[in-house]
């Protein structure tokens, strides 16, 4: 079994390294530092850590103020509370003035598990993606998370980074290169392409392998940068296949599936099947049981690729 790490875990470690490098890094949390993994930063750099209590709106507004005065704030809480509770603070105090705030949200998606629907952000990418000036990143493993965190710190302007609670297989090695606005082709095929991010990338790779056994060759694209979205790479990939499937741990409305549909419709129309939550909230349960129940599995992706190809008439 491959090595595993939760993206939130990698975030906590990346923060320590960033903090050493740059004295302007300030971390804020809202009484969840043990879960978001900012606690280690709090211990290492107590003078640059602010626990705001259970007050996400005030946390985002405070981060905006810190950014106006030269700090690079990373504001962390669960994705539901970051993008939901504090949405309008993010909109009007961070995105509109284009302030240098990094919203590092953990516990995204249904793999939150047992806490249930109130704690499972399934729409965060859609609402963050709708905001002008906002960059939206959904890394797939610990390695990519670390690079995404460093890239976010370097980027001038607001960034939303979506991370999870669940331990994920480590997919990438030290040679992997993440760049904001760039998608990565992980595997090349001729028949169909799966465009995935986050939790679904490892599952997409498994599905591609299973399809290869059946003689269907599939390209897998990791689209960690949902915004800006890499139109060029997707268009090039689309021109070489007959159908596309998207895979995200998020509602199919407004997230990666929508971003891909928009680009395909405008650049190179192809049959498309969007795998994700089908306009439904999650529920309590063990993470892998929920992925199964809501159709976020290798088997579902295999089926979706065949559906997409049959729409393409092959």
């Amino acid at each position: 079994m491959a090595e595993k790490q939760a993206t939130r875990e990698a975030y906590g470690k990346a923060l320590i390294a960033l903090g050493a490098e740059n004295p302007n890094i300030v971390v804020l949390d809202a009484d969840l530092s043990k879960s978001t993994k900012t606690a280690e930063f709090a211990k290492t750099y107590p003078e640059r850590f602010l626990n705001m209590g259970i007050a996400e709106q005030n946390m985002m507004g405070t981060a905006a103020g810190l950014a106006t005065s030269g700090k690079i704030p990373f504001a962390s809480t669960f994705a539901v509370f970051a993008t939901g509770r504090a949405f309008e603070q993010i909109r009007n105090s961070i995105a509109y003035p284009k302030l240098n705030v990094k919203i590092a949200a953990t516990h995204a998606g249904i793999t939150v598990g047992e806490d249930g629907a109130t704690h499972q952000a399934i729409e965060d990418v859609a609402i963050m993606r709708a905001l002008p000036n906002m960059t939206v990143l959904v890394p797939a493993d610990g390695v990519e998370t670390r690079q995404a965190i460093f890239a976010a710190a370097k980027h001038q302007g607001p960034v939303y980074i979506r991370m999870g609670r669940l331990e994920l297989p480590v997919l990438f090695d030290k040679n992997y290169h993440f760049e904001i606005g760039k998608a990565n082709i992980l595997r090349k095929g001729r028949d169909a392409a799966i465009v995935a991010n986050g939790v679904m990338v490892a599952i997409a790779m498994e599905a591609a392998e299973a399809l290869a056994q059946e003689g269907i060759s599939v390209t897998v694209v990791n689209a960690a940068s949902v915004k800006p979205f890499d139109r060029e790479t997707l268009t090039l990939v689309a021109k070489e296949v007959k159908a596309v499937v998207t895979a995200e741990e998020h509602t199919v409305i407004g997230g990666l599936g929508s971003a891909v549909a928009e680009v395909l419709a405008e650049e190179w129309p192809l049959p498309l099947v969007r795998v994700g939550l089908q306009d439904t909230f999650g529920e309590s349960g063990r993470p892998y049981e929920l992925l199964e129940k809501y159709g976020l599995t290798k088997e579902r992706l295999v089926e979706a690729v065949k559906q997409a190809l049959s729409k393409a008439g092959s």
């Binding site: 009484d31 209590g53 259970i54 539901v80 109130t118 529920e283 309590s284």
Partner: protein, 276 residues
Amino acid sequence: MNVIDLKRMANQIRQDIITMLVPAKSGHPGGSLSAADILTVLYFQEMRIRPDEPHWEERDRFVLSKGHAAPVLYAALAEKGYFPKEELLGLRQTGRMLQGHPDMKGIPGVDMSTGSLGQGFSAANGMALAGKMDGKDYRVYALLGDGELAEGQVWEAAMAAAHFKLDNLTAILDVNGLQIDGTTDEVMSSAPLPDKWRAFGWHVIELDGHDIEALLKGFDEAHRVKGRPTILIAKTVKGKGVSFMENAVGWHGNAPNAEQAEQALKALREEAVQLG
């Protein structure tokens, strides 16, 4: 119920909390145990409810604004007969009724879906306002956590409840002194509590949240207050009744394993025997 019966019930509810958290393998014992006496008095003495008619329009309402304490609510509802006690063992499991946080769509007796701190209190205001509009005499109760007080929405609701003279609303504040990252004083101090609530126009009663008689008296007093809402500021112990969980921040959101649960249940059973 008399005081001794209420004490027995609170003990039973504590046992239910521990029992249901074991198969769930996750969940929140600390803030459930701190509120066990409060919910016992509400559900077994204070509230006018019909377990066989959970949507009865004249019923008193309860909102668990600190929704993570769902186990104490589920235990009270099950003991009251809203649903079979066996359901408790399905807590937090895929496809089962009892969600990690209260879900009014699927769980009989849950008056409001909660889990995002601060929001339940506003909903309780809405229920109290609807009661006033319709000339109904039902009462509304909301339980808040002391960490939860950091949410701005709590104070928006507090201001509105006084503004609308919601004397049919009683808030209970579970002052166990702990949240997740530490004590409330370390993380985000809300002192001085009684002064803040008085300044917001509330009638304030300070009491011991584990003293059944004090709770009964406190709710009685709230009934008699006219023209403004009442808050019971209840001093409690997080994890109350399970020695190794008491005042221990680490037991906010971790379930006991079978061995720990047995140790806790043994002590609770002994306490029950002493109660007679």
